[in-house]
């Protein structure tokens, strides 16, 4: 199953295409925002930090598509600028989780015995750490912020990947071509790298695409708790928490960032399902 056939399969599946479209929109948006940031160009209709208390709590209108918040800042601009945060965090966390998880799982499965026990018990210990508590500990130790929250999530996100990798690697290790590699004089490390990891990569990828949505949601939660980007810088979760008091009088303030997160999560979920179906069908 290569990219081309995966693409054609996904395009036949309506939900997967929908998910793909959503994710694509977010990705392009995120990319554009990031590039604009580097080039120091402002692409949003308003400066996200620009306060204008006079026109605060304005409902969505033609001038302000998503309305204004309690300090008169344009919500639309703030939302656009926050999108890269979620994307960056989710991709980095998942990427690291795949690397660390696959390595640990593959080595544990291949070597077996004591190695397997030690590595898997270590995995279990990390698995038992609650995301929230670790995030708070890091927030206390290093201070809040996007990078710090990303680190917090990276620390605890990989154990399920290690489990999945170990399961797959066990299956692969019993295949004859692994024994043939031993007959070919390959050393253990080389066999793991050349034969085991590539053959577990598809399963890892499927798991990851289904998992990305969860990272987005978890990060949004941390941001809601104020552990990530601090005001006045915008971040979707944080925007919800600071405006929740205005739920009655200005419902668009907490609801719109929530919808933006939800749509991204749905997009990833649909896309992930589509990829999994495509790979399973092959």
């Amino acid at each position: 199953m290569n990219l081309h056939s995966a693409y054609s399969f996904i395009s036949k599946n309506r939900e997967a295409t929908f998910g793909f479209a959503i994710v694509a929109v977010y990705l392009i948006l995120g990319l554009v925002v990031a590039l604009a940031d580097i080039a120091n160009i402002r692409i949003t209709p308003y400066d996200p930090l620009q306060q204008n208390v006079g026109s605060s709590l304005g409902a969505p209108s033609t001038a302000h598509l998503f309305g204004t918040d309690f300090l008169g800042r344009d919500v639309f601009s703030r939302v656009i600028v926050s999108v890269p945060n979620d994307l960056v965090v989710s991709f980095c966390v998942v990427a690291l989780a795949i690397c660390v998880g696959a390595s640990i799982g593959a080595v544990a499965a291949f070597k077996g015995g004591l190695f397997d026990e030690l590595l898997m018990r270590f995995t279990d210990v990390i698995f038992s750490l609650p995301a929230l508590v670790i995030a708070m500990v890091i927030a206390v130790a290093l201070g809040p912020g996007l990078t710090h929250m990303m680190i917090a999530l990276m620390v605890i996100w990989w154990p399920p990947y290690a489990r999945v990798a170990r399961g797959e690697a066990l299956r692969v290790s019993h295949q004859n071509y692994i024994e043939a590699a031993k007959f070919a004089g390959q050393r253990t490390a080389k066999i793991i790298f050349k034969h085991v990891l590539p053959n577990i990569s598809i399963t890892m990828l499927v798991y990851a695409t289904l998992d990305v949505a969860t990272v987005v949601l978890t990060y949004a939660g941390l941001s809601y708790l104020g552990l990530s980007v601090r005001p006045p810088l915008p971040d979707l979760g944080e925007m919800i928490s600071t405006s929740q008091d205005y739920l009655i009088i200005a419902p668009w303030l907490p609801v719109i960032p929530g919808i933006v997160i939800a749509v991204l999560v749905i997009g990833f979920s649909l896309l992930g399902d589509g990829i999994r179906d495509a790979l399973e069908a092959s």
Partner: protein
């Protein structure tokens, strides 16, 4: 067997036991029981010849092959390759595998699905001999040609090949480093009749062309007969009979061998041998084998001595060895 200097591989009282741990402690050294998969096997493979190791499931023939190939360390005994001991750790595995290669039973799992055929065949050349890319490529093409596949197969992926073609590629990979001995572990069991015939013929041609020695593991007597010069019959970890193939098949003396050969279906409705055989019971457990001769509970000739003493192999006619107290009676 032939005189020593003409033997490519020799084992001396080779044993392989697998410990079974009862209980939860992963570090406990105390073992309640052992699976005696290979229990004192001594046999030799003459140069340029094929020795078939025949038996049913659980007899230990696959474990024997894997232990000889040092894929798993022996529990006891010695293995000599071309009269050099390989069990004392003095020969490196790379050194050994330049001369000894293996073809596996299941062609589907023999090739890495993500590697092209040429890469798979070249892997032992690159790993064992450290040859450069262009040298490897030439050798890969020659290997493919030797097994009857055109050079363009090198760029194909395993999923584009049929079962028979995959097995040919596996053979090409095994002969690429120009080994002296090939261990064939049920090389055609997973293949259809017509493909099986093609592969068996190929293996015979390769043996003639490259003067290869074969250790053929199989449960199929007809295949053993067609391919081999000598046959060793295994039951519950022991070799119970061995000798020249014609002798063992036409004049079997161990009761198990007699039953085994009688059970092999012959494609001739006028000779319905199957309906005459009578063999009781189930194959012996390798964990708790019967005391004395492993076959005694099922043996029609068994007597009291059979449950006390496990008979050693003894020569009852030139080169024909049988492990039975009553071998004279079974003729």
């Amino acid at each position: 067997m032939a005189t020593d200097s003409e033997v490519i591989l020799r084992t001396e009282e080779l044993t392989k036991y697998f410990p079974i741990r009862r209980g939860l402690n992963p570090f406990s050294r105390h073992h309640d029981a052992f699976v005696r998969a290979v229990d004192g096997v001594s046999l030799g493979i003459p140069k340029g010849r094929t020795v078939a190791v025949v038996g049913e499931s659980g007899c230990g023939k696959t474990t024997l092959a894997r232990t000889i190939a040092l894929l798993t360390p022996p529990t006891g005994g010695h293995i000599y390759f071309d009269e050099k001991e390989i069990t004392n750790g003095k020969m490196s595995k790379a050194e050994l595998y330049k001369n000894m290669q293996m073809v596996f039973q299941d062609p589907e799992s023999s090739l890495d699905p993500r590697m092209r055929v040429g890469e798979s065949i070249g892997e032992p050349l690159q790993g064992l001999m450290q040859w450069k890319k262009d040298v490897v490529q030439d050798a890969v093409e020659r290997s493919l040609k030797a097994v009857g596949l055109s050079a363009e197969f090198a760029s194909r992926l395993p999923k584009q090949l049929s079962g028979g073609q995959k097995q040919r590629v596996a053979i090409a990979r095994a002969i690429a480093p120009q080994p002296k001995l090939l261990i064939l572990d049920e090389p055609t069991s997973a293949l259809d009749a017509s493909v099986q015939a093609q592969i068996l013929r190929l293996l015979l041609e390769l043996q003639r062309e490259f003067d290869l020695s074969y250790m053929l593991i199989t449960h199929n007597i007809a295949v053993a007969q067609y391919m081999s010069d000598m046959m060793a019959v295994m039951y519950a970890g022991n070799v119970v009979e061995r000798g020249p193939i014609k002798t063992v098949i036409t004049k079997p003396r161990h009761p198990y061998t007699i039953a085994l050969i009688a059970s092999a279906p012959i494609a001739d409705p006028k000779r319905r041998n199957l309906l005459q055989t009578e063999i009781r019971g189930e194959v012996a457990s390798a964990i708790n084998p019967p005391s004395g001769c492993r076959f005694n509970p099922r043996c029609p000739y068994a007597d009291s001595i059979c449950s006390i003493e496990n008979p050693p192999l003894r020569e009852i006619s030139p080169n024909h060895f049988v492990a039975c107290h009553f071998a004279e009676k079974t003729a």
